[in-house]
């Protein structure tokens, strides 16, 4: 019985010691972890100047690029508008060409109507004049007889 109690006590003591050990290890190691978390940010003066200058130039480049993008966008819009106007111009020109071709056809047709006919010939007028004169003279002769 005593032996059992002694063994139990012993195991409890050993467990406590182990817990203490772990706690101590954690306590001693914590500063190490803390220091390792801090990054090494030590720069020379020249490096600071360089970083500052690089940052400035990048900021300026960024603003210029933004302006460039907006300028290019405006340019694209203008060229699209020009393209639309070109299409409109071509459309109107085609319409004009159609109307002019139609006009040519109409003028040709008009020319056909105004072309001198067979009865507009001078020979016909001349012969009909002679015929009228002969017939009239014959008529007069007959009337006199």
């Amino acid at each position: 019985m005593l032996k059992k109690i002694f063994l139990k006590r012993l195991t409890e003591v050993v467990k406590r010691k182990n817990k203490m050990k772990r706690l101590l290890v954690i306590l001693f190691m914590s500063p190490v972890f803390a220091y390792t978390q801090v990054p090494d940010t030590c720069f020379t003066q020249q490096e600071i100047y360089d970083i500052s200058n690089t940052l400035d130039s990048l900021w300026i480049a960024d603003s210029i690029n933004n302006n460039l993008i907006s300028a290019q966008q405006t340019l694209i819009d203008s060229k699209t508008q020009l393209n639309r106007l070109d299409s409109l111009h071509i459309q109107f020109q085609n319409k004009k060409i159609e109307l002019l071709e139609d006009n040519i056809k109409l003028y040709v047709e008009r020319e056909k109507y105004l072309k001198p006919k067979w009865y507009d010939s001078k020979i016909i007028y001349f012969s009909s004049g002679i015929l009228t004169a002969i017939l009239t003279s014959k008529l007069i002769v007959e009337v006199v007889k």
Partner: protein, 113 residues
């Protein structure tokens, strides 16, 4: 004899009348057709004049747009030149440089809630 002559003259007169009537009718038809064609030509001319006005407007607008494009291209060229020749003023002190770095990086910016 007189009767034969009268018949002959009547026949001639008939033929002449028919020919003259035919010619007159043909002339009238031709004149009508010419008048119709003239009206069509006038209408076409009016449409051509309208189209010319529209074309002139479009050409004017195109000239304006081309001018704008030239100006915009100049702006783009200037920006490209400016991009190629960026000059930065160096900071006077290290403190200014530090402040500049903090101001222009995420560390320097306040976090939004």
């Amino acid at each position: 004899m007189k009767q034969t002559l009268n018949k002959f003259y009547a026949f001639i007169a008939g033929i002449v009348t028919v020919v003259v009537a035919f010619i007159l009718l043909k002339d009238k038809k031709t004149k009508n057709n010419v008048a119709k064609t003239d009206v069509k030509i006038a209408k076409n001319d009016q449409q051509i004049a309208d189209t010319d006005t529209k074309i002139d407007d479009v050409i004017k607008q195109k000239e304006e747009v081309v001018e704008d494009i030239k100006k915009q291209e100049e702006v783009v060229e200037d920006l490209k030149e400016a991009k190629d020749s960026i000059e930065v003023k160096p900071e006077a002190t290290v403190e200014d440089a530090k402040e500049n770095i903090l101001k222009k990086t995420n560390r320097g910016r306040k976090k939004k809630k």
